[in-house]
Amino acid sequence: MATITLEKINKVYPNGFHAIHDLDLDIADTEFLVLVGPSGCGKSTALRMVAGLEEITNGEMRIGDRIVNEVEPKDRDIAMVFQNYALYPHMSVYDNIGFALKLAKTPKDETDRRIREAARILELDEQLDRKPAQLSGGQRQRVAMGRAIVRQPAAFLMDEPLSNLDAKLRVQMRAEIASLQRELGVTTVYVTHDQVEAMTMGDRVAVLKDGFLQQVDTPQNLYDRPQNVFVAAFIGSPSMNLFEGTLTLDSSGQGGSLTLGSQAISIPSEVLAARPALAAYDGQPLIYGIRPEDMEDASLDSRPDDQCIHGEVSLVEALGAEILVHFGVDAAPVDSGDPDAVVELGDTAVVVGRFNPRSRIRLRDSAKVAVHAERLSFFDSSTRLAIWD
């Protein structure tokens, strides 16, 4: 078991590309930390530096109390868990899990103990004599996990270990890995580009973009209190709807309104009271965001008209327990800076709302949508940092 500490870590390649900038991370003993971000954000580079696969340009890396900048990968007591574990068809589950220990010349009784312990944790006790062909897809993945577990490393490092699996198995395995990690209590750093994977698995999630750490926090805090526009848009599916608008406070200074293209949304006084910093933006443009679940078909919501917006419905996705309604508004879309995101062009933003399935809104309807204005997120237009205070 170990803590992993990254202190002002930088990675600059010989061609001058600065992949990681002053990365600070304190990963606690037994913690499951997920590194997430779009392509080229530096998440895999960061993981590889922990593993010793990439040299650190400057900064300090510690595993436990030991500085490991110059320590060989094999001497770091970590296990890289890859997506490419093949199972050997003629070998039993027992041998598939334990063969690496034979190569490491681990004593037989110790090997046996570790294999049985791993099998117990993985609920494979009854399958130890079976061959891989007799296992389900999930069980096969667990055998592959068992191979890493029996090495008893101080930390697991996982680089997109589920990316080769089909969607169904991926969902199943992410739950299994998360639960397994908690049972084993081994510090784990996990890289993914999939924010849903990150949110469902990590104790904490570190969001990176262009080599800079954007925010590291619990999944719920990332969702509820994103530190900037990028994190706000990146975390959550569907993404937060982001707009640029102008805040106008009323004469009493207790309430106000926000423009949304040619429309306006009334801002309740309690929102302004909770965020006094917004007062400085009176008459100024700012960026604000609405999560899809913070909107509702107005016919099913009792909000006043001044907290409702209108738009033409371009797509309705019925998901059973909810419906996703896409509708257009005449406001300029905001580019969140995510290189993997589809950027809308022009003066029409597509808004996505997550509505109650009882909604009868149909394609091409002119929808009236209630906005839960007390749940809005606000960001400075120039720094793109959140305004929470």
Binding site: P14, R48, L53, F82, N84, Y88, H90, M91, L103
Partner: protein
Amino acid sequence: MRLQLVTTHDPQPDYLDLPLLQPLAEWTHSGLVEFPIGVHRHVVRFVESEHGLFALKELPGRLADREFALLRHLAEENLPVVEVLGVISERDSDLDDILITRHLEFSLPFRFLFTRSGISSLRESLVDSIAVLLAQLHLAGFFWGDCSLSNTLFRRDAGALAAWVVDTETGELHDQLTPGQRELDLDIAQMNIFGGLLDLEASGRLPPDIDPVEVVESLTRRYGQLWEELTAEQSVEVAQRHLIDARLARLNELGFDTAEVSITTGGSGPQIQFRPAVVEVGHHVRELERLTGLRMLENQARRMLNDIRSYGAWLAKRDGHDQPEAVVAYRWLNEIFEPAIETIPQELRDRRSPGELFHEILLHRDALQSKLQADVSVQAASADYALESLPSSMRERSLIEGD
């Protein structure tokens, strides 16, 4: 559906005749061939057509595109990888893409090396061939990430083996690999090869004299020695510059060319620091190709170059004067190599590649000369080899299960 195909000189099958809208696992096409491919995560099927044998692998589009690009890049770098021919995408919303590669002719899957009689002598060079392959890839900045017996094909190379990369799903290209990346790649190779050998053992097909632990430990040793020879900095006295020539000659002998060296001198000191800077495998391959136009494997090429030199010496003795190297090579090609190969009946030419045929003809000639205590021409040896030895050999052009 979308077909992205590489334009090649060699013909390809008409893919539109294949049941591309069905899952690969469910195909029942008449050209399908069952093939011993070892352990794989994705469905892989083989299709035989009049244009040869083709491997089709079903995998998610992102991975298919990535592997397609990687294989093309590695081929452009003259690294030993299977030839990628195309990607079939947008088949159906539920179906993954298909990556198409050409089966490597005259290749031996590792299982054949352990389960076929008559080729046991080749097993010893298996580790060497993988060590050379890894060193080649690492010099080119390629981290394989999944070197295994199943992901490698082997070709006979004049009594030894040459290894080819089949699967690059986990590969990564870098400008240069760090020691940690190389070490991890070697560690993965060790683990995978150990697992592959234990699996053979579990199936009762591993010869008892092979110790899997010894095999993988020797891989580490061989790779380490080779890497040291290829890249280590060497310090020599100014007066001992011949040691640099000796090092370059050793690299040539190992099959590597040194296109660039880095030499630094310590100001007024007597020491020279020397390090090969740009090293590329295929020294004898390129030399043979330059002289004859023949493209063979490294050991085959080395053997042929030796034969060309012997032939040149014989010509010089007979004619009383030396011939230019290019003339000797031209005459060797027309008077020795081509007649020897043409002596082999067409129906037996699928047993060995031309380079290996020639190597075995020379071995056969040596044995005949030793037995008869007299000179035997290469052409006569070829005729005897085609009659006495070759018919009992396996058809290795495209080995299929059951052969």
